[in-house]
Amino acid sequence: MNRIATVMKIHAKDKLMWLILPWCLGLLPAFLVNFLIGGIVQPEEGLYTGGLASIFVWMMVVGIVTLTKSFPFALGLSIRRTDFFLGTLMMIIVVCLGSSVVLLALSFLEGDWAWGVGLHFFKLPYLSDGSLAEQWWTLFATAFHMSFLGFGIVAVYRRFGRMGLFIMFPVIFVGGSVLALLCTYFGWWADIFNWLSGHSAALLASWLFVGAVIYALLSFFMIRKATV
């Protein structure tokens, strides 16, 4: 059997991680809590929440766990690093496709009805603007980005060990702080926010997608040299 399909099968065995936890332990409680609040408080202008973010955070966790647990398992059972990477890439694409379509359907279902309690959970202003295709792309690209963000962080650990992370996080932190300081000093913030708000969510999602592709490529090269 094709080794890439084998890796997908390894992931598919872990339904709990890929499917049940993100939806049942991530999104569902977030929705229920907000639904309850909406039902009790019944705000006149409606309740807008960011609970949708929970599923994207879970996608990052999935990216982290798969490289932490499934990678040493697969490598120990004579599977190539390249096949592991490609199989995982396929699996992430399938899951992101599925998740984004379901989220889109839920957003459609929510519509203006807002679950009868004025709860705007899946269909949010700005994020759900644009055509159906654009809405789907926003959801898909964000989920894809988060998965490979998690995957990429562990890839650094796999390749460079603990020291790799000890160096990477301070560098990102210091770099980010310096950048923020420069932005404040030169008064760039207004321009940045203007630029961000001047573009659609779908276009920003495309940038997220580009970022994810870069993480994926870097992860691939790190994984090729990773040991267990």
Binding site: M1, K13, F73, G76, L77, S78, I79, T227
Partner: protein
């Protein structure tokens, strides 16, 4: 016979220390090898490099005539059962076995089912809830049922009771007879496995110190037991590697082969001759090496 493993000048360095130091050996197809040595000798590291799970600092590794790194032609023929094998958190025993069915081309499901029965492994139990012994059983089952042309077991019996270990050795020999392949057993329970080993490679502190046919090694030494003074006269001028007095008796282990003349001499003195155990001999050999090093340090 074809060489399926060729290792030349293999070295792995961790922070200035040579965990594996200039090791060279070959392995033929259809033999059972013992990769022996003390804890931390470098056995596991060597097997990790044979399966490209670790990278050598220098040296050459060829398995089935090719480099194993990212090479499916090699890796699909290799099954490496290691003590530290990791499993995804929520996997059950049955999940792992189903995946092995897909992963290993020669997997025999019927044999795997039979082994699960023999080892009384609970199929539906989560891997995380298995005892150490059960986890070892799982590894043993995977290694045997995979029927990989090169199967390596790294300390496969941790936590296994004597019955389960005996079961492992029996099944291994039975199946090996029907489906010959190259098997590498890395262990320090040398006496238990000595009867099934055909060739022995001993690693000590990263260095290869012995690489010989098991029978040749067994013939390298013998023990003589009898009255102390008679034994002393028998062994005088011989290289003695071990002597154990008890009461007026002495048991001495001597290096060298037993020719008919020596046998006759022993018989005249009323001494009992016994073959030395592989374990004793290897303990002696590894101890001798470390003694030499201790001298070097002074």
């Amino acid at each position: 016979m074809k060489n399926i493993v060729e290792v030349k000048g293999l070295t792995k360095t961790y922070g200035g220390v040579n965990a594996v130091d200039d090791v060279s050996f070959t392995m033929e197809s259809g033999k059972i090898y013992g990769l022996l040595g003390r804890n931390g000798a470098g056995k596991t590291t060597i097997m990790h490099m044979l399966t490209a799970q670790m990278f050598p600092t220098s040296g050459k590794v060829h398995v089935f005539g090719e480099t194993p790194y990212e090479n499916n032609r090699v890796l699909s023929q290799v099954c490496f059962i290691k003590e530290s094998q990791k499993y995804p958190d929520h996997f059950r025993v049955s999940d792992v076995l189903e995946l092995c069915h897909v992963i290993f081309p020669n997997w025999d499901q019927q044999f795997a089912d039979q082994l699960v029965n023999d080892f009384r492994l609970p199929l539906k139990r989560g891997i995380k809830k298995l005892s150490r012994g059960m986890l070892s059983s799982l590894g043993v089952i995977i290694g045997l049922a995979s029927r990989a042309p090169l199967t390596m077991f790294d300390e496969p019996y941790l936590g296994l009771d004597a019955v389960a270990r005996e079961l492992f050795y029996d099944r291994l020999i039975e199946d090996y007879a029907e489906h010959p392949r190259t098997i590498v057993l890395s262990t320090h329970l040398i006496d238990e496995v000595s009867r099934i080993l055909e060739h022995i490679i001993v690693i000590d502190s990263g260095k290869l110190i012995l690489n010989k046919d098991a029978d040749t090694i067994r013939g390298q030494a013998y023990s003589a037991i009898g009255q102390a003074e008679k034994v002393e006269s028998f062994i005088s001028g011989q290289e003695t590697i071990d002597r154990k007095p008890f009461g007026g008796l002495l048991s001495a282990t001597v290096l060298g082969s037993l020719d008919p003349e020596r046998r006759k001499q022993a018989e005249l003195l009323g001494l009992e001759l016994t073959p030395v155990s592989l374990q004793q001999l290897i303990v002696h050999l590894t101890k001798q090496k470390s003694d030499l090093r201790a001298v070097d340090f002074r």
